[in-house]
């Protein structure tokens, strides 16, 4: 966890000989102001402009931009995708973390690298691979057409692409946590006759729950916000295969800036909530 300087460290730095010389003060001032300026220009001003642009024509126009069938459909589709993808990837993350943290086996490091792969791969590729498999020219394209199943330009393709992109987050959160916690308590429970599932629910889950929750909300944020991968497989059919981020693009390209930033403001609030939960979990962790 990142944390910051502890009180002990700060007092130690302050008590250091020469720690309060004019040169130290100058360096400190330069470092802090450069950091703040950099973050203000790059991070804080975009966040502010989302709000000012969304409310550029007043609160009533802002609210009106949500009273739109296509916007509504986009919000519904985004929620549907998140509701399906998050549980599936959570289950995967728990299984992967248990396998990797609790056992030694050959090929473990390859497995870890393979799990990380979706983070390093361009989101465009995550969409492309499913088009190559399930698109009209794809490996299963003819078969799917013959059975009247659409994967690409439909919900299943968007689910697959979103799953690919958000695949590693729960596992990456849980693996280091479970490795650090060790196996002693689980082994004790098993030795005393508890079943595997019981041991997981009663012994492991309480220890990892905050990491699990953070992994899940991060997966959720990425699932709701994914753009590139979903854009490639969606076909941008309004009211049908348009998620919130894709809808932002359509509104933006139609010069409906208030509408685009209004939808963007919802996703920004989601991101802020995600970070708030993360921060609270971290502070709790520091206290406990």
């Amino acid at each position: 966890m990142s944390g910051g300087p502890s009180q002990q460290l700060l007092s130690e730095l302050a008590s250091r000989p020469g720690g309060n010389s004019w040169a130290d003060k100058l360096i400190r001032w330069v470092f802090i102001s450069l950091s703040v300026m950099f973050l203000a220009a790059l991070l804080i001003s975009p966040l502010m402009i989302v709000l000012t642009s969304a409310f550029a024509k007043g609160a009533s126009i802002y609210l009106k931009s949500f009273v739109d069938e296509d916007t509504f459909a986009a919000i519904r589709l985004t929620l549907t995708i998140a509701l399906i993808v998050v549980p599936l990837n959570t289950l995967f993350g728990i299984a992967a973390a248990w396998a990797i943290a609790k056992f030694e086996f050959r090929g473990k490091s390859i497995l870890i690298t393979a799990i990380d792969l979706p983070i390093a791969v361009s989101p465009v590729i995550s969409g492309l691979i499913y088009i190559l498999l399930f698109g009209s020219q794809g490996w299963f394209g003819l078969w799917l057409q013959a059975h009247d199943i659409s994967v690409i330009f439909a919900l299943p393709g968007m689910l697959l692409a979103t799953m690919f992109v958000t695949f590693p987050y729960v596992a990456r959160e849980l693996i280091p946590l479970m490795q650090q916690l060790g196996n002693d308590e689980e082994e004790a429970a098993i030795t005393m006759g508890a079943g595997g599932l019981m041991t997981f629910i009663r012994v492991t889950l309480p220890k990892i729950r905050w990491g699990l929750i953070y992994g899940m909300i991060l997966t959720n944020a990425r699932a709701m916000g994914e753009f590139g991968a979903v854009s490639v497989v969606s076909g941008h059919i309004r009211g049908l295969t348009n998620t919130m981020p894709l809808h932002i693009e359509i509104l933006y390209n139609e010069y409906n800036y208030v509408g685009a930033f209004a939808v963007a403001s919802l996703l920004m609030v989601l991101a802020i909530i995600t970070l708030l939960i993360k921060t609270v979990i971290e502070w709790r962790g520091l206290r406990g």
């Binding site: 791969v121 499913y130 685009a260 970070l275």
Partner: protein, 279 residues
């Protein structure tokens, strides 16, 4: 501990390893392999022709150039930010610390349109820069700014823990022995933080090469000028040139592998250094 794990009584080995491998193969590995297979339906000379098309070459230069520049900017400012957050206490430090992760959580389409609005000719910062004759939006500069935002948390979050690990008694000892501030920095702090800095750099660079959502709004996507490689894949798909898209995808996948390998090696190097230092 390693021994007890090898002979552990814990159940679920077959189930969890099997499930993980199956799910991983179905969602990630087999689809990626299918892309490589699709690209291999091209003959070697056709494959090379796709990869060396002038428009594609222009996109490599742009994608790599801007990603590299953005990652370098992040090394400098990421270090400054990490240093300020770890070593100094100032009002708003905790809020700033929490905000660092914003680019991870914020959808790329949102940061894309927001950055475009900030740096447009009539935007808050775009106005000031336009007065100096600098155009950001629809140029490589705009792409660099978008990639800098996306890569920033990777460097900060990688350097922060390493900076906290620097042994202060070593610094104190060096100072007591008469080393000045810069000697302490170059001989003690910098070497300890270097692996983390390089890891963060590589992560930001890798992320930049693949980035799509936050770039396409600010890039303007002018052929030969501001088209990034991931966008060319999308364009090829829109033209139903699936094989060409797969060929470009393979090149980008190869790059990702190299990056992932470098990150793993750098992290292993960093861990080794840390443990040697502790003993």
């Amino acid at each position: 501990m390693a021994e007890s794990r090898q002979h552990t009584v814990l159940p679920g080995f077959g189930l969890t390893v099997g499930y993980t491998t199956f799910f991983l193969s179905a969602i990630v590995l087999i689809p990626l392999a299918a892309m490589v297979l699709k690209a291999s339906s091209l003959s070697f000379s056709q494959f090379i022709a796709v990869l060396l098309d002038p428009r594609v070459i222009a996109s490599y230069k742009l994608t790599f150039g801007t990603s590299l520049l953005a990652a370098l900017i992040n090394v400098v400012f990421g270090f400054l930010i990490a240093w300020s957050l770890v070593r100094y206490d100032f009002p708003g430090r905790k809020v700033l610390d929490a905000l660092i992760d914003m680019p991870f959580a914020l959808p790329t389409a949102v940061s894309g349109i927001a950055l475009t609005a900030v740096f447009a000719q009539d935007g808050w910062l775009g106005q000031q820069l336009a007065r100096m004759g600098i155009q950001v939006v629809y140029t490589w500069l705009g792409i660099t700014i978008a990639l800098t935002l996306i890569g920033m948390p990777f460097v900060v979050r990688s350097v922060q823990p390493a900076l906290a690990e620097v042994q202060r008694d070593l610094e104190d000892a060096a100072e007591t022995l008469g080393a000045n501030r810069f000697t302490v920095f170059w001989r003690i702090i910098f070497p300890t933080v270097l692996p983390a800095l390089l890891t963060g750099f590589t992560m930001a660079f890798a992320r930049g090469i693949g980035e799509y959502g936050s770039v396409i709004f600010i890039a303007g996507n002018l052929p030969m000028k501001t088209e990034i490689t991931p966008l060319l894949i999308v364009i090829k798909l829109e033209q139903y040139d699936y094989v060409g898209a797969a060929a470009l995808g393979c090149i980008m996948l190869g790059m990702s592998f190299v990056m992932l390998l470098s990150i793993n090696l750098l992290q292993a190097w960093g861990r080794r250094r840390l443990f040697v230092g502790k003993r």
